[in-house]
C-alpha cells in the first residue's frame, strides 16, 4: 500500500474516532474502531440491496416477490447498478482499511488444513497462531475483492450494452451470476459465523468490543499481542 493511501486510511480512522466513540469496559478489548464499523455496515447495506435487486432480476421465481419492495421491475433494474457501484466504493475503502491484517500467512495454511475440525467444533479454543483474522475470514475478504472486480467489469459491460457486442453481454451475464452465487455462499457463512455460531461476535461490529475470553477463544494470537501491548503501557 502506498504512503498516500495509508495516510488517507489513517486520517479517516482518526476523523471517525473523533466523531464516534467506542467504550471499552473492564475485561473487554477493542476489536473494531468506529471507522471500520461504519465501513462494514455501509458495505453490508449496499451489498444486501444489490443482492436483493440482483436476485429479483436473476430468477423469475424471485421477480414478483422482490421487485415490489423496490418500486417495481423498471425501478429495480434502475437501482441495481447504483447500489452495486456504492457497494464497490465502500468496499474499496474497506479494502484499504483491512488489506494489512488480511495478508496471507504461513499460519493460515495450517488453519485451512484443520478446517474440518473447525467446522465440526472439535477444538474449543483456536490454535495459538490465529491472529486478528483467521484464514476463513481472510479467504472471504479476498473472495469479495475478486468478486467485486468481476462484478464491476461485467456489470459495466451489461450496463453499457449499447457500446459492446451481444456476445460480450451474454458472457458477462454468466460471470456476473457466478460471482453473485459465490458471494452468496460466503455471505451465508459470514452471517452465520458472526451471529448464531459464535456468540459474542456480533457485538464486535456494533459496539466495537469483545470480551477477553472471546478473544482468547477465537483469536489467541491477537489476544496475546493485545495483552502484551497493554502490559507494556
Amino acid at each position: 500500500m502506498s504512503v498516500t493511501t495509508k495516510n488517507l486510511d489513517e486520517g479517516a480512522r482518526g476523523a471517525f474516532a473523533r466523531v464516534g466513540t467506542t467504550r471499552v469496559r473492564p475485561g473487554e478489548l477493542l476489536r473494531h474502531p468506529v471507522y471500520t464499523r461504519v465501513l462494514h455496515w455501509s458495505v453490508a447495506i449496499f451489498f444486501i440491496l444489490s443482492l436483493l435487486t440482483g436476485f429479483a432480476i436473476y430468477s423469475p421465481w424471485l421477480f414478483h416477490w422482490i421487485t415490489p419492495v423496490f418500486g417495481g421491475g423498471p425501478r429495480t433494474r434502475l437501482l441495481h447498478p447504483w447500489f452495486g457501484l456504492l457497494f464497490e466504493v465502500f468496499f474499496l475503502f474497506q479494502f484499504l482499511n483491512w488489506v494489512g491484517p488480511m495478508a496471507w500467512k504461513e499460519a493460515d495454511r495450517r488453519w485451512l488444513k484443520r478446517l474440518r475440525q473447525y467446522a465440526t467444533n472439535q477444538e474449543a479454543i483456536e490454535p495459538e497462531d490465529v491472529g486478528f483474522f483467521n484464514a476463513g475470514q481472510k479467504l472471504y475478504f479476498w473472495l469479495i475483492l475478486v468478486s467485486g472486480v468481476l462484478f464491476l467489469i461485467t456489470g459495466l459491460l451489461i450496463w453499457f450494452d449499447d457500446v459492446v457486442g451481444r456476445w460480450i453481454v451474454a458472457v458477462s451475464y454468466v460471470i456476473h451470476d457466478l460471482a453473485a452465487l459465490v458471494m452468496l455462499a460466503g455471505f451465508i457463512i459470514h452471517v452465520y459465523e458472526g451471529t448464531a455460531h459464535q456468540p459474542g461476535t456480533f457485538r464486535s461490529m456494533i459496539d466495537g468490543t469483545v470480551t477477553e475470553s472471546w478473544a482468547r477463544t477465537h483469536h489467541p494470537g491477537w489476544y496475546r499481542t493485545e495483552k502484551h501491548r497493554q502490559e507494556k503501557r
Binding site: 433494474r77 467446522a119 474449543a124 448464531a196
Partner: protein, 307 residues
C-alpha cells in the same frame, strides 16, 4: 401490441408456472414471405410501418447508399437494407427488407428476465409488452438479428410486432398491404413455405440463379418471416447470419444452472441452520490459556450423546 385475448399465448418471458390456457386453442402459424428478387427498394413498406404505428418522423442518416439509416430503430421497425454486391463481374444490387424475424425459438424471449415483457403467441408472432419491460436490454444481446432497440427516454425496448393488432382483426401487416410488386406476402406458414419453394425453384430453373433457396434457419427452429434469396449458400451477402444462434447464457445457463444456483443458495441457508442445531455454538471458553494443557472440561459440543 395486440390485445392478449386476441391470440392464444404460447410462451411468456420469465414466467414462473404454466402459461394460462396454453394448448387449449388451435392457432395456425402465420408467416411473412419476402422475395428479395422482386423487391425494387421503393420503401413503401417503411412508410406504411411508420404510418400504421404512428411513429414520429425521424432524421435519417445518409451514408452514401440508398438505405434510409444504418439499422432499424425503436421507432423504425422496418428498413430496407441496400447491399452493392457483384455477379459475373457486374453490379448486383441486393435489397432486403429487414425487420424482426419472429423466430420460432426467440432469443429475445429466452434472454428476458421480466415476467410478461415478451410473449409469443401460438401463431408464432413474438410481441413486446412495454408495460412489463424493465429496460435491461438483455433481449438485444439475445437477438441474432440485432432487431430490438432501446428508447433512452421511455427506457423500454421496441421492435416490429408483425402488426399483431392488425392480424388480430384479420388484416395483413401494414408493410404487406403497401408493397406494390407482390414481393411481400402474408399467410399461414405452410402456404408461405410452399410459395417460397416454388419461387426458388423458378429462380433456379428459369432465371439462372442455381443457388436460389428459402431462408428459414433451422438453428432457431425456423422463422415466421422467410426470405427467397438468390443465393441461399451465402446469406451473409444480404446481411443475414447463415447459422443464427442464441447465446447459451440464455438457454442452458438460464434454465438449468440458474434454478440450480437458487436451490444451492436455499441449501446453504438450510445447511447453516442445521449446523447450529447439530453442532451447537462455539462459546468463549472461560479458563485461562495455561490450563488448556490439562484435562479440559467437557463442553456441550464435544460430549457424545447417550440415549
Amino acid at each position: 401490441m395486440a390485445n392478449p385475448r386476441t391470440f392464444q399465448i404460447q410462451e411468456i418471458s420469465a414466467h414462473p408456472g404454466p402459461v394460462p390456457g396454453q394448448g387449449t386453442r388451435r392457432e395456425e402459424p402465420v408467416c411473412k414471405y419476402i422475395d428479395v428478387s422482386t423487391c425494387i427498394g421503393c420503401k413503401a413498406c417503411e412508410v406504411a410501418c411508420v404510418e400504421w404505428n404512428d411513429h414520429p418522423f425521424r432524421e435519417t442518416t445518409f451514408n452514401d447508399t440508398y438505405q434510409t439509416m444504418p439499422t432499424t430503430e425503436w421507432n423504425y421497425y422496418n428498413l430496407i437494407k441496400f447491399v452493392e454486391d457483384e455477379r459475373d463481374g457486374n453490379l448486383m444490387w441486393l435489397m432486403r427488407k429487414d425487420q424482426c424475424m419472429h423466430c420460432e425459438d426467440p432469443g429475445c424471449l429466452r434472454a428476458c428476465p421480466a415476467d410478461g415483457a415478451i410473449i409469443k403467441y401460438e401463431n408464432g408472432i413474438v410481441d413486446f409488452q412495454q408495460e412489463n419491460c424493465i429496460g435491461c436490454g438483455y433481449c438485444i444481446s439475445g437477438c441474432p438479428y440485432d432487431i430490438p432497440k432501446f428508447h433512452p427516454n421511455t427506457k423500454k425496448v421496441y421492435k416490429c410486432t408483425l402488426c399483431s393488432d392488425r392480424v388480430g382483426q384479420g388484416l395483413e401487416p401494414a408493410c404487406i398491404k403497401a408493397c406494390p410488386t407482390g414481393c411481400l406476402k402474408f399467410g399461414t406458414k405452410s402456404d408461405m413455405v410452399q410459395i417460397a419453394g416454388l419461387r426458388a425453384k423458378q429462380l433456379r430453373e428459369v432465371s439462372g440463379f442455381a443457388n436460389a433457396g428459402v431462408y428459414d434457419p433451422p438453428s432457431i427452429k425456423g422463422t415466421h418471416v422467410i426470405y427467397v434469396l438468390h443465393d441461399i449458400k451465402q446469406p451473409e451477402r444480404y446481411g443475414l447470419p447463415a447459422n443464427p444462434i442464441i447465446p447459451p447464457s440464455y438457454t442452458y445457463w438460464k434454465w438449468l444452472a440458474k434454478p440450480t444456483g437458487l436451490f444451492m443458495g436455499l441449501l446453504g441457508i438450510a445447511a447453516v441452520f442445521f449446523h447450529r442445531v447439530m453442532y451447537g455454538p462455539k462459546l468463549p471458553q472461560p479458563e485461562p490459556p495455561e490450563n488448556r494443557t490439562g484435562p479440559r472440561e467437557e463442553t456441550e459440543a464435544g460430549r457424545k450423546e447417550t440415549p
